[in-house]
Amino acid sequence: MNWILGPMLLILLIPIYETFQDKDIWQKMLAFASVSTKTSIMILVISVLRDDWMIGLVGVLILSVGNASLMLLAQVLKRVNEL
Amino acid sequence: MMFFLNLGLRLTVWFLLTADLSPVNIVIGMVVCLIIPRSFTFNHASSLRDWAEAIWQSVVAVPQAYMEAVEIMVRPHRYEDLTLKEVPPRRAPGLVFLDIFAITFTPKTIVTRYDNRGWYEVHWIRRRQPQ
């Protein structure tokens, strides 16, 4: 099961590269959404590898509240673009 | 109806988070779920059947989503399309939520807009050029 982190890391690099090369704000937001989900899943995987449920709980909490900021930011950006 | 669904959802989240079924925890959970604020708009008529249907739709959406994912991987879908889907106007907010969930969960469709007058704007990806 140790093999899993390597591929996950490589896939995580894709949206990071995307934010670097794309100038459109919504494309960057998509990459942000992708990164935030992927990192929290990686935290869950790490907690299983380590057998440390403190980290697992943190992963679940980040997963369940982390996207809230993304939605707020999307709404603000929509308002800004309307002007 | 909305009230019990709401309470049920909150209790589920509470017990999954605490993972503890001792009487004390059940009492605390009930108190917390009743205390935290909720909206009081009950003026939407919706029957039990509507709810059952919507919940069933979102359960069915899970295997369907995986089938669609495999389909997209096997045959690429290159074209995009925008359609309107009709719903009964003035649906209860919870039902609208479940509808949007069921449609958006499947990878081929995304709801981009909900209109009070009774339609969803659905964005599709398709295999062939839409006419």
Partner: protein, 95 residues
């Protein structure tokens, strides 16, 4: 015997999840529209991640409340986030 079977199924789930991740994330770097990328992202981030968490769940069934919580919040948040992003990134129709 049973253990081995569970192991194989779990590895299969995680592998499938990783394939979905890769397949859905790859189009991000392409020139497609935001909505098209949202479709593929819902495939990667929702379905792929659910598959990975199910794989973890099979391996460590003792911690099911936590992982079921992860599954629920994954499905709901990601889906609704897809809707919010689709709504915010498209223009209001002029009627």
């Amino acid at each position: 015997m049973m253990d081995q079977l569970v192991n194989i199924v779990s590895n299969g789930c995680i592998g499938a999840g990783l394939v979905l991740w890769l397949w859905g994330t790859w189009p991000l770097v392409g020139p497609r529209s935001v909505l098209y990328k949202l479709h593929t992202l819902s495939m990667a981030d929702t379905l792929g991640s659910v598959a990975i968490v199910v794989g973890l769940l099979l391996r460590i069934p003792s911690e099911w409340p936590l992982l079921v919580m992860a599954l629920i919040s994954l499905a709901i948040w990601n889906t609704i986030l897809g809707y919010v992003l689709a709504y915010c990134s498209t223009e209001e129709p002029n009627d």
